[in-house]
């Protein structure tokens, strides 16, 4: 497997008026080409910081992070980012939002229109091309955001809890959709979540992060067959993997919540 995103010894400290917070310390993680890796951890463990650094939106203090061998120092079109919050521009239609990204990437006119239309249909939004974000449901908005991030063909897709704000049912549909898209088009994905079930269902490998200062605690291979369907969730193998990751994460979340004594 060709390594795509390589993170080694990465550290990040935030300095505020109230002192310093070590968010990341010694993070090592390699994501191969066309691999889907989920990063799970308790809230505040620094997983979003890690994604921001990969996106080039945040600096780091130590270590290195490279994409195709080149150091990441700033944002770039070689990375597509999907945020948790809805980031569709409200004055543009669904089409307009995808075309907005394509224009920034240098496509114009008819070409951009065709690519935008194709990507909206990829996420099942035919017929909603001319809808404004205010007219779309939360799940639809995130589908447009995914279409937008895929449209300019980035080398890697960085997703920061993209389904975190959705209700449980919609979230399941989105997971199925993302798996289907990924199985058809194969691309490198780093997916941040705190939902273990989601992580196992989507990924080839699941990396568990420790509490702050965050580093990679364990990496679990998800050797479940593809194409994956929803019935998989009730299989023994799935449950077993989910259980293992949950065990890994549980000690971290108990410590983070200060529940150690109460639950002993």
């Amino acid at each position: 497997m060709t390594p795509k995103l390589v993170i080694s010894g990465l550290a990040k400290t935030f300095y505020t008026d109230r002192g310093e917070t070590v968010a990341l310390k010694g993070v090592d993680l390699t994501i191969g080409e066309n691999e889907f890796v989920a990063l799970v951890g308790t809230s505040g463990c620094g997983k979003s910081t890690l994604l921001s650094i990969a996106a080039g939106l945040e600096t780091y203090d130590e270590g290195s992070i490279t994409l195709d061998g080149a150091a990441i120092t700033m944002p770039g079109l070689d990375r597509g980012v999907v945020f948790q919050s809805y980031t569709l521009l409200p004055w543009l239609t669904a089409m307009g939002n995808v075309e907005f990204a394509l224009r920034a990437a240098g496509s114009n006119g008819r070409e951009a229109q065709e690519i935008a239309r194709a990507h909206l249909s990829l996420v099942g939004l035919e017929g909603f091309e001319q809808a404004f974000p205010a007219e779309l449901s939360g799940g639809m908005k995130q589908r447009v955001a995914i279409a937008r991030a895929l449209s300019y063909r980035p080398e890697i897709l960085l997703m920061d809890e993209p389904f975190g704000a959705l209700d449980a049912l919609t979230r399941h549909h989105m997971q199925e959709l993302l798996t289907a898209v990924w199985e058809k088009h194969r691309l490198t994905v780093l997916f941040i979540t705190h939902d273990v079930e989601e992580a196992v269902y989507l990924s080839d490998r699941v990396a568990v992060m420790t509490n702050r200062p965050g580093r990679i605690k364990s990496i679990v291979n998800v050797d479940l067959p593809r194409p994956r369907h929803y019935e998989l969730l009730s299989s023994a193998k799935f449950r077993q993997l989910q259980r293992r990751i949950l065990d890994d994460i549980r000690s971290e979340s108990i410590a983070a919540a200060g529940l150690g004594k109460a639950l002993a």
Binding site: G56, P75, L77, R79, V81, T87, L92, A104, E135
Partner: protein, 257 residues
């Protein structure tokens, strides 16, 4: 119910009812002779006075000159406030350079500038523009700054992940994103501009609505004062409604169709 919705017709009905009730109280108290006409003239007196001024062309002349002054004064102020507000909303250094100074000026009562502006520019239109400017510009700068600052951080990050140059992010994301709020700020500041115009006209002018009100006071023409106050209210209400309507048309994308 807290924050509950009502039909547009119901809203209009309630609003009209309040106006009608006030008019009825006004009519009733004057018809019953409860107050002296010098203090509160009857509606008929006021309407007659306005009709008379309309026939002689005085009313149209006063309204036109005042509208001319506020339009130009407000435009000058707005055109200058927009770039300054956007600049200090985007860059902390510029905020540090300008915001405290603007706050400092903002707390000086506009009325206190009237003698100075007369000294500087005389009693012509320029002085009216200047008073409207002093009264509106500094407030607008701060409003626009806040509007620009409330552009979601995620929108700017989106521009950065798309590798857009900074000025592009400003032009394609920050400006369109803050436009609805800026429009609203302009609507609110236009209301203040009316006040400053009338203040300027009351103190030193030879024409306009404010000027006519001062001369009316000298001749005890209370009906004219009331008439012109009503006209000012109507003009204000009209501009506000027009701005609101235009805002809804311009930013229709914010509403679910």
């Amino acid at each position: 119910m807290l924050g509950g919705r009502i039909a547009a017709a119901q809203f209009l009905g309630v609003a009209a009812l309040v106006f009608a009730a006030l008019a009825a109280v006004w009519y009733g108290s004057t018809a019953a002779g409860l107050v002296r006409p010098l203090f509160l003239p009857s509606p008929a007196q006021v309407i007659n006075r306005l009709a008379e001024l309309w026939r002689t062309g005085q009313l149209t002349a006063d309204v036109s000159i005042s509208i001319y002054r506020i339009t130009l004064g407000f435009l000058i102020s707005t055109v200058l406030a927009l770039p300054v507000g956007v600049l200090i909303g985007c860059y902390r250094v510029w905020e540090a350079a300008i915001e405290p100074f603007v706050d400092f000026i903002r707390y000086m009562p506009v009325v206190a500038f009237v003698p100075l502006t007369i000294l500087w520019t005389g009693t012509g239109d320029a002085q009216k523009f200047l008073i409207i400017f002093i009264g509106t510009f500094f407030q607008q700068v701060l409003l626009v700054m806040d509007n620009v600052k409330s552009v979601p951080r995620e929108f700017i990050n989106l521009g950065r992940t798309l590798q857009m140059p900074e000025w592009r992010i400003l032009q394609r994301i920050v400006l369109p994103s803050s436009m609805p709020a800026i429009w609203d700020s302009m609507r609110i500041s236009l209301g203040w501009a009316w006040t400053w115009l009338v203040v300027a006209e009351l103190v030193a002018a030879t024409s306009g609505l404010g000027y006519r009100i001062t001369t009316a006071q000298r001749f005890f023409q209370t009906d004219l004062i009331f008439g012109y106050l009503l006209i000012l209210g109507i003009l204000g209400l009209m501009t506000d409604q027009i701005m609101k309507y235009a805002g809804r048309r311009l930013f229709r994308y914010l509403e679910v169709r």
